[in-house]
């Protein structure tokens, strides 16, 4: 499958996790990696599966590198019908109320333009003893398996 991993990051943690997911999937798939800040909303492609990794920052806001993308989406209003994506959130339960808001906002932004979410969005808690990659690799494998029948090849 052709896969694009898009990350929205503030501290670099989501970028590092995205690199790890890329390495993990690369053996069996063709995987591209892009910072959301460098990604043109007009370039979504039905023949690719999108894995989005997005943190939360400040008071439940999108992280810095996702903000230009969100603005470009609002401006371009692309039709994302037929686009499939899965989304993995990163947050910190020390800030319980807003812990997964960044990825929730990103999910809402994509679905509002017609993209279809594959599987559940889960959020890693930076204050837990679990490592993000321990959660993310199994999650990514499961999402890629689900996407196999959905993404046009």
């Amino acid at each position: 499958m052709d896969i694009t991993i898009l990350y929205g990051t503030e501290t670099g943690n989501a970028e590092m996790l995205s690199e790890d997911i890329q390495s993990h999937l690369e053996g069996d798939h063709s995987v591209e990696l892009s910072n959301l800040s460098d990604f043109d909303p007009g370039s979504f492609d039905k023949n690719r599966f999108y894995i989005v990794v997005c943190s939360t920052y400040g008071d439940g806001e999108l992280p810095a590198s996702a903000q230009p993308f969100a603005e470009a989406m609002e401006a371009a209003k692309p039709d994302l019908a037929g686009i499939h994506f899965a989304i993995f959130g990163m947050g910190d339960m020390e800030y319980e109320e807003t812990f997964n808001n960044g990825s929730k906002r990103m999910e809402d932004l994509l679905t509002a333009h017609g993209a279809k979410k594959v599987g559940e969005r889960i959020t890693h808690d930076a204050s837990s003893s679990d490592l993000a990659e321990d959660l993310a690799m199994d999650w990514a494998d499961a999402r890629v398996a689900e996407a196999a029948g959905l993404v046009e090849a």
Binding site: T11, G12, N13, D59, A64, D92, E94
Partner: protein
């Protein structure tokens, strides 16, 4: 041979800079030097012990040393020999093609009001390092008493407030030392007044820091001076309004937020603080808070050990952090005491591009030796393997509900770092 780069200061700015440089060029031999035997600077010693999620950036930085070939040179102080430095900046520059100073700004700003020298007046940076087990502040022994006044309204002030307001069990999962938790329990703080000079809408803390206080179980929180606060900074005021009245009326501790009060003087008897005086900037009203201690949390400044003002003064592009090609400033040491860890990440990425461009424009003629020369000259320096041994010692046999028990003395760190080679 590779271009050799020394980054002085293994805190977040130095580590992000090494990361960004490594992404631009793969032919750089980068060493991160720190005066402590351990890396990570502010992340280890400044970020609050109960904010382990924020400390999670360490996992990124560890990769620099584990996968990217960046070297760690610990226990080596650069700067003025009169400040105890092992090596001057000029000597370091003789050994590396590029030197970047990222040593931060760790000295506490002072209020500049009478009475500040009284016993019982403490400074937030010193206290934070003490609570984070920084060896420099191991001997610091703050007798806070039951009534504490915090002067300042930034995130550091809120960190201090939160630690004082927590119950012992609320430090679960942190690396706040048992000795500190026990000390606080014995101190039995009853009232914490946190006083800001600005009106509530212009307070400097992030709203999320206020929301976090909503989880505290043993404290009553009251917010004064909100009545005539103007709308505008909605999230900050909303967070304060929401937290106002938190907790049971008979809680053992009470936190009171006060806004719009400029500190005027600390007063005391027998050399010990007993009152903090403020005045209202708009109507001249007076506020006197009886207290057992005052903690000032009004920002940071240069500790003068690195001749920062001289370096900034002769910088060809101070804004970008360029003193001259081959010598750069990064992070707070460059930009001043402003901006969060992520803001300094963006800053480090910009500086990395500038350094790469300078290297492109004028490649170093003869490559300088770098860490090899340091290691042959100093047998006291620690490396990343040494840090891993210290890390293992700090995370073995942990007490209940702690994620780390820091070594608090440099000699213990050095012994732990050497442990393996001696057996």
């Amino acid at each position: 041979m590779s271009v050799t780069i020394a980054i002085v200061g293994a805190g977040p700015s130095g580590c992000y800079l090494a990361q960004a440089l490594g992404k631009l060029r793969d032919d750089l031999a980068i060493d991160i030097i720190d005066r402590m035997p351990v890396p990570y600077g502010l992340v280890r010693y400044g970020v609050a012990p109960d904010h382990q999620g924020t400390k999670g950036v360490i996992r990124q930085f560890a990769r620099l040393f584990e996968r990217e070939g960046v070297g760690f040179v610990g226990n080596l102080r650069i700067g003025d020999p009169e400040h105890g430095a092992d090596l001057t900046l000029d000597e370091l520059r003789d050994l590396y093609d590029v030197v970047v100073l990222a040593t931060g700004l760790s000295a506490d700003r002072t209020l500049g009001v009478p009475g500040e020298e009284l016993e019982g007046v403490f400074r937030a940076g010193t206290l934070t390092r003490h609570w984070n087990d920084h060896p420099d502040e191991a001997a610091h022994n703050p007798a806070l008493g039951e009534r504490v006044v915090i002067v300042g309204n930034g995130n550091v002030a809120i960190d201090i407030l939160r630690i004082l307001a927590k119950e012992t069990h609320e430090f679960e999962g942190s690396d706040f030392g048992d000795h500190h938790a026990t000390r606080l329990e014995q101190t039995a703080v009853r009232t914490i007044d946190i006083v800001g000079r600005s009106p509530a809408a212009h307070a400097k803390f992030d709203p999320v820091m206020i929301r976090e206080l909503g989880k505290l179980s043993g404290v009553r929180i009251v917010v004064e001076d909100l009545d005539d606060a103007t709308e505008g900074e909605d999230k900050r005021l909303a967070a304060l309004r929401e937290i106002d009245g938190h907790g049971a009326a008979d809680a053992a501790k009470t936190v009171t937020f006060r806004f719009g009060w400029a500190p005027e003087r600390a007063a005391g008897t027998d050399g010990r603080v007993t009152e903090m005086h403020f005045h209202n900037a708009s109507d001249g009203a007076e506020l006197v808070l009886a207290c057992d201690s005052v903690i000032t949390a009004i920002g940071f400044e240069d500790d003068t050990s690195m001749n920062r003002s001289g370096l900034v003064g002769r910088a060809s592009d101070a804004e970008a952090g360029v003193v001259e090609p081959g010598l750069y400033l990064a992070g707070w040491f460059k930009r001043g005491p402003r901006g969060t860890i992520p803001e300094n990440r963006a800053d480090a990425q910009a500086l990395a591009k500038r350094i790469a461009a300078d290297l492109e424009a004028a490649p170093p003629s003869g490559t300088r030796p770098g860490a090899t020369a340091l290691r042959s000259r100093f047998d006291t320096i620690t490396d990343y393997e040494g840090w891993l041994r210290i890390d293992a010692a700090e995370t073995a046999d942990l007490p209940d509900a702690r994620c780390r028990r820091k070594l608090t003395r440099v000699e213990d760190m050095l012994a732990a770092a050497r442990a393996k080679t001696e057996t």
